[in-house]
């Protein structure tokens, strides 16, 4: 683990990375060229600031890197942070990107006759077993979660289970798979995540980075 030295910012691969690029630019962070190349096999990238490097990892892994302090900063979806619910991760800034929501969905056919208020037990396929279990427990429903890592929408069609808990942004994938949203769990945007111990021991440096990103977010909103 680096103690003084350079800070590491963990960013998720894929869709969020694209939305993040303009924010990074506004915050004055210019990564080396390979970072823009999705085919690059490189994992860690230098930036124009010798005090900051980037690592590109899977979205769920951002939370692990930040929780253990391997990366002091990270960009993590609210969905990932809710699932981890880790006391070592702070989320001081809403970056306003990666906008979507976590919801419960079921086949359109089923939802015609189904009354969610009568549920006492549900079986759901999800990437978010902790979020799902907490959501259902809070409304007195026991949840059996089948953890999948992708293609959640496939589960009801193939008879794995009838309901899913998943992210939805436009709702197109849901509709294409004959599914309908029946319960809303949480709004999701990406947050700037910070390791607790790093914030306490390097408050000025980390505070300055939070401020730089805050100004970038404000500039993007303006």
């Amino acid at each position: 683990m680096t103690s003084d030295g350079a800070l590491v910012l963990a960013v998720p691969k894929g869709r969020i990375q694209k939305e993040l690029m303009p924010l990074l630019a506004k915050a004055g962070v210019v990564p080396e060229r390979a970072f823009d190349d999705p085919d690059s096999r490189q994992l860690q990238f230098a930036t124009n600031d010798p005090g900051l490097s980037l690592v590109r990892v899977r979205s769920f892994d951002v939370a692990s890197f930040v929780a253990f302090g391997a990366a002091q900063l990270g960009v993590a979806g609210h969905d990932v942070l809710l699932e981890f619910d880790d006391p070592e991760i702070y989320a001081p800034l809403d970056l306003g990107i990666g906008r979507c929501r976590i919801m419960v969905a079921e086949p359109v056919e089923l939802s015609k006759t189904d009354d969610p208020s009568r549920w006492s037990h549900v079986r759901v396929a999800t990437k978010y077993p902790n979020v799902a279990r907490r959501h259902f427990a809070a409304r007195g429903v026991q949840a059996e979660c089948i953890k999948l890592n992708g293609a959640i929408e496939l589960a009801p069609r193939l008879g794995l289970c009838r309901r899913i808990v998943d992210l939805v942004s436009t709702g197109r994938t849901l509709a294409e798979n004959g599914l309908e949203e029946v319960e809303h769990i949480a709004h999701v945007t990406s947050r700037l995540a910070v390791n607790r111990s790093a914030l306490k021991t390097r408050p000025r440096e980390i505070g300055a980075w939070i401020e730089r990103f805050r100004q970038a977010v404000d500039a993007a909103a303006a």
């Binding site: 683990m1 680096t2 103690s3 003084d4 929780a67 253990f68 302090g69 609210h78 942070l81 880790d86 006391p87 070592e88 991760i89 702070y90 989320a91 001081p92 800034l93 809403d94 945007t189 947050r191 910070v194 111990s197 306490k200 021991t201 390097r202 408050p203 000025r204 505070g207």
Partner: protein, 377 residues
Amino acid sequence: MTSSLESALLPAGLRDVLPPEAAHEAAIVEALIARFAAHGYERVRPPLVEFEESLLGGAGAATAGQTFRLMDPVSQRMMGVRADITVQIARIAASRLLKAARPLRLSYAGAVLRVRGTPIMPERELRQVGVEFVGSAAPGADAEVVALAADSLGAVGVTKLSIDLNLPRLVPLLVEQLGIRDAATLRDALDHKDAARVAEAAGVHRTLFGALLAAAGPAPEAMRALSALALGGRAAQEISRLEAVVGLIAEAAPELSLTIDPVEHRGFEYHTGVGFSIFVAGVRGELGRGGRYIAGAGEPATGFTFAMATVLRALPPPLAARRVYLPMGVPAAEARRLRAEGWAALAAIEPASDIAAEARRLGCSHVYRAGRPAALD
């Protein structure tokens, strides 16, 4: 072969500590206790197991979910394995040491057992070392324990220490003063420092809670930001109290790096005043935490507890011991002399054909040759 190794499997979160770490840990524990003693803190040693009611009463209620229970076959009563020693010290102060002069300064070291570890600290058996200062509500007591935590860690070689001061009562007081209804959601959002959710949960008070979040940071700036908030009522008293404590710590330990986080709450369930957590740059998690609480008979108390596993991670590895191999025939008096000088002297019990190789095989740094220990290599 496999079956004999399988028997070495330990339950999750428990482990064997081997040489040289076990000796190193014991030495550090003793050095910390000695430093506490130099400040007038006397050692006590409560038992590992107690009756459930005494262990989980009062301030101990916060540890109920983390406590292993077992039935006492003799008294037929339920017992708990301690998950925290502070509660036991508070019990001692309120019972057997009730007549001892106040303020009472006590220290302790021992193991605790927890039902669950955390992702960054999966250990379930923890070594705790700490002090309790019972019978004074003065800001000087808060400042003394913070300064002692820093001084004792410094004495065993921890550097780059940073102490984060907290006001675990502040948010509950504000919630009460402002009549906020959904306090649980706000509390959770504040715990994660999630500014977006804090704004959502605080409603009309979003500016105030946003300012509290933003106030966290290095002590001088944070103190200025907090004083500027003009909170009123008991919340304002909490802040002026913190200001007094910060001033006294700065006098007692001017070099210490202090930060303030007015909304930190997790792990301070039984605290009633200034709390603090101890960090070292680059070391995962906290070295310890402490703060003000109410001991047994309603007495004001404060103190801190170090988690030895994290303290040891903040220290350089132990120096190799001076270990000398004594081949056959070294006189017993000579062995006694070396041991008195501090050598670990291993006497041969059989003649060895290659003495140097035998010494190395046994992990010795030296071999006894021509009347004195000679370094190998």
